[in-house]
């Protein structure tokens, strides 16, 4: 993490110390817009990317020493690429005055984030162009991430669907173009409104996109998300630190242990745990294997979106081989739930390296073959080149990260720039595109698989010895060697296993280069055995927000090409 600290005269706020070392300031409600403008536009080496925007319900929090009084705190994370540094701004709001000026005029990416904060906390952003719910149904009562909102259906009382309620719900679903910011027609031409999804073969999940069409030309597109919302953040407040790990697997459900990595890096920052080299290397190896697994799914389904039937079968076969390795090591396949606080669940089984070496020898020739089948296919190129491109500037404004940002021509990889889990020790290249179009996104994805193979080979060749779990009292499950020697350790072990580890109070953001872009966990501990606030910054959310910009003026087939190339997962968008 960078140490560049913002000069204090730029921000007139109260500093707060956090576990992650990100400069954090409490800004006055009246000053926030000016401060954001300053940071995004005016300061040297500006913080151009709105990395995340969320809120915390502070009403039940006990450990707030030195922080201003607040019922609800809105938290802005900005990222400066020139400085390679984040800055965190907080605004304290009181119950009864839950409103803030919008920052959509400063960053287009703020649109959905502000809507999400409104939806989840009931904080209104003044002059926002479309201050509506985004994840919950319009008819929902209450704001789910408030502490007084129930977390389980069993706390809600029995559900009854009366006729009146059913009519009201159906009426709420009626489509009125004006509510979506759409026109019905122009100069005697009526537009077609096409409902793509929530059930559609090309959307890869329950995603709805409303298209405003003139013939087949897309005039406007509005994604409607939230069908896959399961309240992953709310569950984070309900589970213990340890028992939340399996839930993270299901956020980017193609990324498997990659999600564990993002979450646990954050927890370990809070707890002050350093994972030993063997644990780090095992984690990197498994993460890169899952990057390949995720990219293979993307590869096949992208080709299928363009009408190519066969590649997806070949790639799923290869994925099956990779899953064989995952299964041998973790015991599960898609959702291994295998990393633990302070390390991994188990050491590697005997013969693990043979499986990896076979896979490393097998996949490269297959990737070459797929290049011939897919990437060099003239029809494929005709469908993807020059379609859905964006500039680096736009990508940053909209919060794009990962392969999609690199495809636009900006070689920013968090594994290189802000190494975690020992990534600085590996040799690998960061593939970069030129135009940011669908074809470039594809080339970057494909090349990343080869680079992941390189990293895995380095892990296999240089796997360190020693323990794979940290010698730390918060490591979970705790080391058992000493428990039979003295009663004190036995009691700690018993509590840690039965009740869960108690993480010291604090706040930390951990951001990693996940399969689809930057996946960040902003964790707030209030000194309990569970998180006080778990914020998941998922890469697919801003990518999907950018869709209308990418597909305006193109045709329906291009929309499918763009959707396919963006590489998103609905569970990652909705959480």
């Amino acid at each position: 993490m960078s140490t560049a600290v913002l000069p204090d005269q730029l921000v007139s706020g109260i500093p707060q110390a956090t576990c992650d070392g990100i400069p954090t300031y409490w800004i006055d409600r009246g000053q926030i817009h000016a401060t954001l403008r300053e940071l995004i536009e005016d300061v040297p080496q500006p913080y151009k990317m709105l990395y995340d925007l969320t809120a915390i319900d502070e009403r039940g929090r006990r450990h707030r020493d030195g922080q201003p009084a607040s019922d609800f705190t809105v938290v802005y994370h900005l990222l400066s690429f020139e400085r390679n540094a984040y800055i965190r701004l907080k605004v304290a709001l009181e119950m009864g005055h839950l409103s803030l000026p919008t920052m959509t005029d400063l960053s287009p990416a703020a649109n959905w984030y502000e809507r999400e904060v409104f939806d989840m906390f009931g904080i209104v952003f003044e002059e926002h162009p479309h201050m509506e719910r985004i994840l919950m149904p319009r008819s929902w009562v209450g704001h789910p991430l408030r502490k007084d909102h129930p977390a389980r259906a069993t706390e809600l009382g029995p559900f009854l669907l009366t006729d009146e309620k059913q009519d009201a719900e159906q009426e709420a679903l009626r489509f009125r173009p004006e509510e979506w910011g759409m026109r019905r027609g122009r100069e005697g031409t009526d537009f077609i409104f096409l409902n793509v999804g929530p059930q559609h073969p090309g959307t890869h999940g329950v995603l709805r996109i409303v298209l405003e069409l003139d013939g087949e030309e897309i005039l406007d597109a509005v994604p409607d998300i939230g069908f896959h919302h399961r309240g992953a953040e709310k569950m984070g407040e309900r589970q213990t630190w340890h028992t939340y790990i399996p839930y993270t697997d299901r956020v980017d459900y193609l990324g498997g242990v990659m999600n564990n990595m993002a979450y646990l890096t954050g927890v370990e920052k809070l707890a002050g745990i350093t994972v030993p080299p063997r644990g780090q290397t095992i984690r990197v190896m498994m993460c890169e294997l899952f990057r390949i697994i995720s990219h293979l799914v993307w590869y096949g389904t992208f080709a299928q979106d363009l009408g190519q039937m066969s590649p997806v079968f070949y790639m799923f076969n290869d994925r099956e081989i990779a899953f064989g390795i995952v299964e041998a090591i973790c015991g599960a396949r898609m959702h291994p739930n295998w990393f633990r606080i302070g390390g991994v669940a188990q050491d590697l089984p005997a013969g693990w390296d043979k499986m990896f070496r076979d896979f490393l020898d097998y996949l490269p020739s297959k990737l070459d073959e797929y290049d011939r089948i897919v990437m060099r296919n003239k029809l494929f190129q005709a469908r993807t080149k020059g379609v859905g491109g964006c500039t680096v500037e736009e990508a940053i404004q909209w919060g794009m990260t990962g392969p999609n940002l690199r495809a636009a021509g900006f070689g920013w990889d968090f594994r290189k720039k802000q190494p975690y889990s020992g990534y600085e020790q590996y040799e690998f290249d960061v593939p970069v595109g030129v135009n940011g179009d669908c074809y470039d996104r594809a080339t970057v994805h494909v090349e990343e698989m080869r680079q992941s193979l390189r990293i895995i080979r380095q892990c296999v060749d240089n796997m360190p010895g020693g323990p794979c779990n940290a010698e730390h009292r918060l490591t979970t499950p705790p080391p058992k060697a000493q428990t039979m020697h003295d009663i004190e350790t036995l009691i700690h072990h018993f509590l840690s296993v039965s009740w869960g580890p108690v993480i010291p109070p604090g706040e930390a953001l951990a951001a990693i280069e996940a399969t689809k872009g930057n996946n960040g966990y902003y964790l707030v501990s209030d000194g309990g055995n569970g998180s006080y606030r778990t914020r998941i910054r998922a890469p697919s959310f801003p990518h999907m927000q950018m869709l209308p910009k990418l597909c305006r003026g193109l045709m329906i087939p291009d929309l499918l090409a763009i959707l396919g190339s963006l590489d998103y997962v609905l569970a990652d968008i909705d959480r």
Partner: protein, 316 residues
């Protein structure tokens, strides 16, 4: 007896074509599976052949549902059109010397006309379904038809010039010394492309394009009406394969084996090629198909016609 002979041929042709079209369901699924590293239907009967029966029973017994918002008469008519027109075209296909229902002197023109009528079925189905996806599929079918139909006919004219006849029997007989695929290779490639577009199969299944338009023009169809589109598509594939065989690969001509067997083998080879296309290629956008059709293939077809004509005049 002689009065019964045409009826006998009709019965045989109908039987062969309809059974083959049904059987192609199994052939296609097994071949696709072979090329995609999987098994395909292999449980019902030997080699999974019973799948054809199971699929037919399923299609026949499914609820025959007409959506209340559809234009009912047209909706019902559309699937019949595609089967009827495709079958009509088989009237002029000679399966062997003299084994033909109607030996028309303008056989090729009749073939082109009948098979082209099939597009009406797609457009009408798209229109009458009163569904936006179906409508877009129907519109695409129109655009697609406008782009391939022109060079489709023209690419065949090279063969007609060389054989000096529109009669399919004469064209086959004229290939006794050399199949037309050799002198007319450009024409063959163009007709093959147009043929795939005519059958609306991948890579030119724009009207259906599953990943974009759900099922395009037949989104609203179910039961045997959907089955008619299904069968109609396979009949179209058989028809185009038969045309390719007759016009470029010497029809029933071949050593040792009897004529109909050669004809069947060659046609089957082309059917497999169609399935291979589906397994291998992605789908272009319809504006791309249109611009290739008009800017590249149409000029090439005209050029092919001119060169063939000039060569034939010079050599005589």
């Amino acid at each position: 007896m002689s009065a019964l002979y045409p009826l006998l041929i009709i019965a045989v042709v109908l039987g062969i074509v309809l059974n083959l079209a049904g059987g192609l369901i199994w052939v296609e699924r097994r071949l696709l599976a072979l090329w995609q590293d999987r098994y395909g239907p292999n449980r019902v009967g030997p080699f999974g052949l019973g799948q054809v029966v199971a699929d037919s029973v399923k299609l026949f017994t499914k609820e025959d549902w007409i959506p209340p918002f559809a234009d009912k008469p047209v909706f019902v008519l559309a699937p019949a059109v595609v089967v009827a027109t495709s079958l009509l075209a088989f009237a002029v296909i000679p399966f062997a010397a003299g084994f033909v229902i109607a030996d028309l002197s303008v056989g090729i023109l009749f073939l082109l006309a009948a098979s082209s009528l099939g597009v009406y079925s797609v457009v009408l189905a798209g229109w009458s379904s009163n569904n936006k996806y179906a409508l877009l599929g129907g519109l695409r079918a129109t655009a697609q038809m406008l782009s391939y139909e022109v060079f489709m006919g023209l690419s065949l004219m090279g063969v007609v010039i060389m054989a000096g006849s529109f009669r399919l029997g004469d064209i086959v007989e004229a290939q006794r010394h050399m199949w037309y695929v050799v002198p007319q290779f450009a024409g063959f490639v163009m007709f093959l492309i147009a043929g795939v577009a005519e059958t609306r199969r991948l890579p030119f299944d724009l009207a259906e394009s599953e990943s974009e338009l759900i099922a395009g023009f037949h989104s609203e169809y179910s039961g045997m009406k959907f089955g008619m589109f299904f069968v109609g598509e396979y009949i179209g594939v058989i028809l185009i394969s038969a045309m390719l065989t007759l016009c470029y690969f010497g029809g029933w001509l071949g050593p040792v084996l009897p004529g109909p067997v050669w004809f069947g083998l060659k046609t089957m080879a082309f059917i497999c090629l169609f399935i291979l296309f589906r397994a291998a290629l992605p789908r272009p956008r319809f504006d791309q198909l249109m611009s290739w059709g008009w800017k590249v293939l149409l000029p090439l077809a005209l050029l092919n016609l001119l060169v063939t004509g000039a060569a034939v005049l010079l050599l005589r």
